[in-house]
Symmetry: C2
Amino acid sequence: MSLTIKIHVTANFGLNLQTVRQKKFANYNVRVRPRPIYSSNPLTVYQPKMSTDSVSVKSASSVIKSSLIEPDGGALVDLVVPENERGPKTIEAESMPKVNLTKIDLEWAHVISEGWASPLRGFMRENEYLQSLHFNSVKLGDGNIVNMSLPIVLAIDDETKDRIGSSTNVGLVGPSGDLIGILRSIEIYKHNKEERIARTWGTTAPGLPYVEEVITPAGNWLIGGDLEVLQPIKYNDGLDHYRLSPKKLRKEFDSRQADAVFAFQLRNPVHNGHALLMNDTRRRLLEMGYKNPILLLHPLGGFTKADDVPLDVRMEQHSEVLAAGVLDPETTIVAIFPSPMHYAGPTEVQWHAKARINAGANFYIVGRDPAGMGHPTEKRDLYDPDHGKKVLSMAPGLEKLNILPFRVAAYDTVAQKMAFFDPSRAKDFLFISGTKFLGGCTGKIFSPGFKFALSYMKMRTYARTGENPPDGFMCPGGWKVLVKYYESLQAEDATQQPAILTS
Amino acid sequence: MSLTIKIHVTANFGLNLQTVRQKKFANYNVRVRPRPIYSSNPLTVYQPKMSTDSVSVKSASSVIKSSLIEPDGGALVDLVVPENERGPKTIEAESMPKVNLTKIDLEWAHVISEGWASPLRGFMRENEYLQSLHFNSVKLGDGNIVNMSLPIVLAIDDETKDRIGSSTNVGLVGPSGDLIGILRSIEIYKHNKEERIARTWGTTAPGLPYVEEVITPAGNWLIGGDLEVLQPIKYNDGLDHYRLSPKKLRKEFDSRQADAVFAFQLRNPVHNGHALLMNDTRRRLLEMGYKNPILLLHPLGGFTKADDVPLDVRMEQHSEVLAAGVLDPETTIVAIFPSPMHYAGPTEVQWHAKARINAGANFYIVGRDPAGMGHPTEKRDLYDPDHGKKVLSMAPGLEKLNILPFRVAAYDTVAQKMAFFDPSRAKDFLFISGTKFLGGCTGKIFSPGFKFALSYMKMRTYARTGENPPDGFMCPGGWKVLVKYYESLQAEDATQQPAILTS
């Protein structure tokens, strides 16, 4: 069995930073942000660039206030009812018609209530929904545009609609039966599922995880309005302390006196390829003149598809990575991003970036095929793996965020560690080819590409056969967490399908 | 057989204009344009409104120059090679690898070459394509946004791609074998048909006319680049004199000293309901203080689906309408809009409006379900009939255009003419119900809705049975043109399917 490892983790923004460095803007407060390339010809269509020249430097005179980047709309939305109003508002909510939330609806209520989707103040009304669906952005009252690529909507069925009747406000009931909030000045409009799916995912093929889990079983109406949640949303799963709101994250960045925050979105275990990228990003930010860049290691904590590694396992694995010093706990904040996952590629990566603006990150790292997956019915990536970062670099409302695209890293057999791929000695690098280990996976074939996820397919094979991954692939503590998880899966498989197990 | 006629042609922008009138801005040069409603709360999300308050008045001091509205990007694109360069460029083009254009590709080349899609200077490169697909707009070099809702792309197959190899430029060959132009600095990228269809139409259901005609048979690559056409594109179908370029239209508006131009996009015969709307629009513009509003009656002349009335019949019918004085030839310009039809509803209506900006129209009339059709596989409208005008009013890059939405008109049995529907005497109005005449049509059912197109289904029934439509529905000359056409269809049907004809 040939062993190939190829991991896309290397930042190619070196040139960006280099350019800035060469300009000797090494002051403490220097901020870097990408800008459109302005051509001398006014008719030249905007050509976003991913590498050189895509940064410009803002005056160093700006003062670091409560954060490094303004929330969308200028102020962070906070929809948690103040404690002294909780009693009366609960009584008020009890008198309203009720709408039952699913587990994932509740995740969205959480997301909205803490301001991740600022300036959105509730589930979308039709006006916001249509702008999101058609333009991936919403125009504010002041004429400014904010990015809003995913429809953040609440579906109800006919019966609930009838029950609401002509009421203006509704009470929201969580999956456990608790009254969790209020939606005010509601608007009910049609839920055209086919159109929503087609415009969000660029396909209507059966098998999209979020569609199957959320949209297909949902009602034929959407209800928008202004949200209030009666108290901060908690999950009581032992991980709530990781669920820092944008407000808390901003406070934390301030208290650490961060002068740059770079966010890394992930939904899989951290291996040394990721770590290389994150550490290298920090090094380069320091070289640019930032004194205290902070990494926001920000695993997604909401709905994920069944074959992704569960949140609790990932959090345990991330802890090991920090404990082993692979990432520096002094300059890293690990927190959970509470959003559910759409797997909507270029559309969703905008949401992932936009939410991190609201959390106070002014740099966002983007890799190959962000938020992508295999096509559910065809043997190919659902999205062109390069479209995510291209679309992100063009997206309306994200101009103020520094986008840091990264390219391929691989396992360097000479150095016996993850390293930036060096084409001049290509033979020294190993790539995990996904195609060899597709037995139990979703039918993805990466040719010539690759995705983090596949290495986890491979890991599962390792765990099954008792093999270890190559030295330097992941810290032993983190690997142990995964082995334990994969073994438990194996045990489960054995219980459920003893005849199907193959070597 | 009950007879009901309901036609959506009445402008509900009376209130808009009224508002302006009340403000006594009755000067000659007053310009009206819609603006976002700015709220005092900066976090209030933009709420476009369709009726009152959606206009603001620009200073009357601005001078009418060569046109009433600036082309997108500031200058009209004109890609027709000057006559003195035609010879050398033809010789040059002959030496390049060739790309064959279909009839519809040629229509797009025509559209681009005359600047309808300004500032687009050729078939889209990937950068423009992705922005169009995801944001319905493109950012220019100067940071400005222009609307660009339909991907205007040229597909090639593997063989053509191989033939092009590493060439930078290609020659374009029309369907009749003539060399028609050059595409320079080309970029070839993947044509993901599924994604293009899903994001453009909001469905991937089989049976979309443009998809079946154009996209499904097309190659798996798109080729973008800068277009030059060797000479103005002509069709030699006896209608070329109607095909006025944006440049010619602007010149014509100037020579008529128009101080407002209101465009009416259509792809069906004009009946008196349309005429009522157009004449009423003119009256209201006059009331507002415009001295010389000109109607651009602008039938779409490119690809339409098989059951639409063909262009030559429509042009003949439109001539009769003007000859009969139903529309005033003195204040009306009839010209052909050379674009092919996508039937992509809210996405396409933006294109229809944007192209008319480039042609110099500063008012655009939009009705129910613009560019819509029945769902190809389900018994419903493909689009929410209100989404077109809503999306149009929100669309990035169209802020400078005055959008004039209109509501329902119907046949007034008392006055025996088409009139604005008056709900207080609803029983006096007749509506053509589509549901009764669906025998030969695409399976559309409008409940409680209605569409122009359906009245043509009904007309076909009239023509078949020798019945006349109610008095006042259409001028007799125009009706005669249609009867002749429908009779010819009937004869064709009889030849092709004698056993299927039913009474």
